[in-house]
Amino acid sequence: MSSDIAAILAIDGIASGAIYVLIAIGFVLIFAVTRVIFVPFGDISAFTALTLAALETQRLPGTMGLVAMLAAMATLMQLTADIRASDLKAIPSTLFFYLVVPLVPVALMWFAAGSVMSMPVRMGLSLLLVLPIAPLLDRIVFRPIADASVLLLLTVSMALHFALVGLGLMFFGPEGVRTQPLTDASWEIAGMQVSLQTFLIVGSAVVFSTLLYAFFELTLTGKALRATAVNRTGARLVGIRPAYTGTMAYVLASILAGISGILISPVTTIFYDSGFLFGLRAFVGAIIGAMVNYPVTALGALLVGVLESFASFWSSAFKEVIVFSLLLPVLLWRSLSVGEVEDEAEE
């Protein structure tokens, strides 16, 4: 392999790695705050890409139906809970947060879909439309079992992913899509053509990771999220509601997933079930960061991107095998560095 090819592969790898960084950080964020390993997270990313593609061709995206369905379910569940607790005063806010808020982007889309929109508007609308999905799923699926063990939550999460992939087929159909490139421009660096799109991808990953960091460090809500992650009981004792911080974590992570979906959609063809593989690659990154450490997670996700890029050069058939086999040495290293016996008794 010549150094030119190596450089091209590395740049490609960093670009896709940057996309995985966003997803991986989202995984860690949700896990830290809610203890849920949110497997369908990659699907959120893929659904954003599919939504964007639908808007490009001036079709109504399937996401609308999905969001409307989830909103209806969540509202019903919350109303039942309110009525059971004979907390009738809560009903207006239930209707507002679970029905009205998620349906606003759906309504916007309804009115706007037929018209020709500029690219930034399309992106903004797509992002807005996928935002309610994860928080609604949280309400419907995870809130009733918030006290369950991490393993049970993970099992439910896996099942949820398969349900969502099936729903994805129903709402989006089996066709693969690829959106227009963000830009055709390219720059020449050290004798190589690097597309501006690559810079945009890496740049957005950096910008949004930094924004997230600033949010955690500077805002009270950000600190409340960190506090929930560090010590749930402690957080409750100062009046932080885990359900609220959970929703916030899902919304924030969904922004990251949505952006990653927007960034990836012009790079590769996306199908309704593509999300799982993105998600899993990002997972490898998150596991490198032990599901707790954001910077190491980001580095891990970059590593996965680069490895994937080289692996597809060596042997595209075994690309996935090579990427997922990376997990084994990582886990081995983690396992050897386990210190004193950690106790995780159940029951």
Binding site: L151, T155, F162, I287, V321, E344
Partner: protein, 589 residues
Amino acid sequence: MSKTQFRFLTLAALFLLVASPFYLNAFSMTLLNYIGVYGLVALGLVLLTGIGGMMSFGQAAFVGIGAYAGAWASALQGYSPWVGLMLAIVLSCSVALVLGAITLRLGGHFLALSTVAWGLSIFFLFGNLDGLGNYNGIANVPPISLGPLKLVASWQMFYLIWAIVLLALLASRNLLDSRSGRAMRALRGGNLLVESLGINAFFTRLATFVIAALFAGLSGWLYAHLNRFVSPAPFEVHVGIDYLMMAMVGGATELIGAFIGSALVTLTKNSIQDYLPMIAKGASGQLEIVVFSIVFIVLLQRWRGGLISISSHLLPSPHHDIDRTVTPLSRRPLPQPGEVLLTADQVERRFGGLVAVDKVSFTLNAGEILGLIGPNGAGKSTMFNLLTGALRPNSGRVVFQGRDITHAPQREIAKAGIARTFQHVKIRPKMTLLDNVLLGTHPRTTSGFFSGALRLDRAEEAQARAEALRQLQRVGLGDKPFELAGNLPLGNQRVLEIARALAADPVLLVLDEPAAGLRRQEKQALAELLQSLRSENLSILLVEHDMEFVMGLVDRIVVMNFGCKICEGLPLEVRQDAQVQDAYLGGLV
């Protein structure tokens, strides 16, 4: 249900099963075959998840390994299917061994997540290996032959499949009722408990994982010869979820739950395939997955125990006859009273900026009861954990019977003869009193997984049972050995822990606040028990907060406060020590 009724029902069910080819049509027989094949995988998952507390989404990959091993050997290489069986067993077990060795030291969700990743890897591997027919798979897998007889018809396969299933079920049942099986059942109590009993938690997890993979591999081999064709699709990750669902729907805490779940899922899938197209026109396999996933989620939300949990009261309560005349388990020699037994030398432990134990030294002599007292938060429990290996000191030395155990793992310390109890009681609530105490005999017995599964361990098991019952009687819990431990009041649970510790035949008994939460009379009984143990030359280290309890009981006292030893001596001396009064007895005057 009584034991006789249960036996009768089991026999009747067995008869119905064996006779089924005579009253079921070929299609039903095929369904029954698949229920057996899938149930075998679910059985492994019950052991892994319900019993051992581990989660695998990748069992489908092990089924795949077994299926491809069988198909490759018989269809592509022309070997006998029985060679394929050997290959399936060896391959699935060795892959499980490697993957388990890498992941099982980590927290539970790491194992689960890595199973997804390697489940996918193996799937892609099957699909891309030219030697395995790529995504087209391997066709024309020959039937299994028994001598001249070829098992082609579904009723013929039925007998082979269900013979294997019943053998696996029987072996698993035997295993759970043996020394190694009890270790598996203890895993969910956490590493701290398991290791304190002298059990190697990692090894037990690994063995459980390999057994689950073995069952999956066996199932794969059967599948290849039942279906006569293999391709990567049935070994995808979402199929792994189906297996998990079978185990959980049936009830992952009971072995039979695996087959209840397998039957339920297989039959429901079958009818969904029949009726779904009538309800939703053009619905594809994806809708089936949606429906199934949603059912699964609702089930896990509402009904975590599975089907078996609503009928478990119908199962007979566990009961064994205990032969008290067997030769007792051999005991270790106790040191002469007065010999130095345990020495702590300048032991220090820090947590971040907090010095929990600050260079504490003391010795404990054989045959004495030493009290380690101090106000709450003085560092007693940390000291306790340092002595028993649950924590490692930052500096200093701990010597037990002349052996440096400062850095010895917890289970080695347990095997060396230090048995402990816990401040927050750690018993296995779903196991009987007898089984809980039997856990204590683990380091004194030797039977392994094989002898347990094959019932070669009965002589030793009888000895262990007699010993466990003896210890239960000694602490006053001998009247209902088959009661579930979780039904005991808190005070008795503490006493049960002491019986468990005694069953290990310890040289030194280390008790962490045994009197906390006990009533006056219970405390009195406990003190009497400890005194009688001392009269048998057992040494006891008592970490206590309750002064009154300690004063009348112990020979010597070590007092700690804010991490330091502040006083050591006879109870009366300690009581009169000004520093102790000031710091410990509430002297803020």
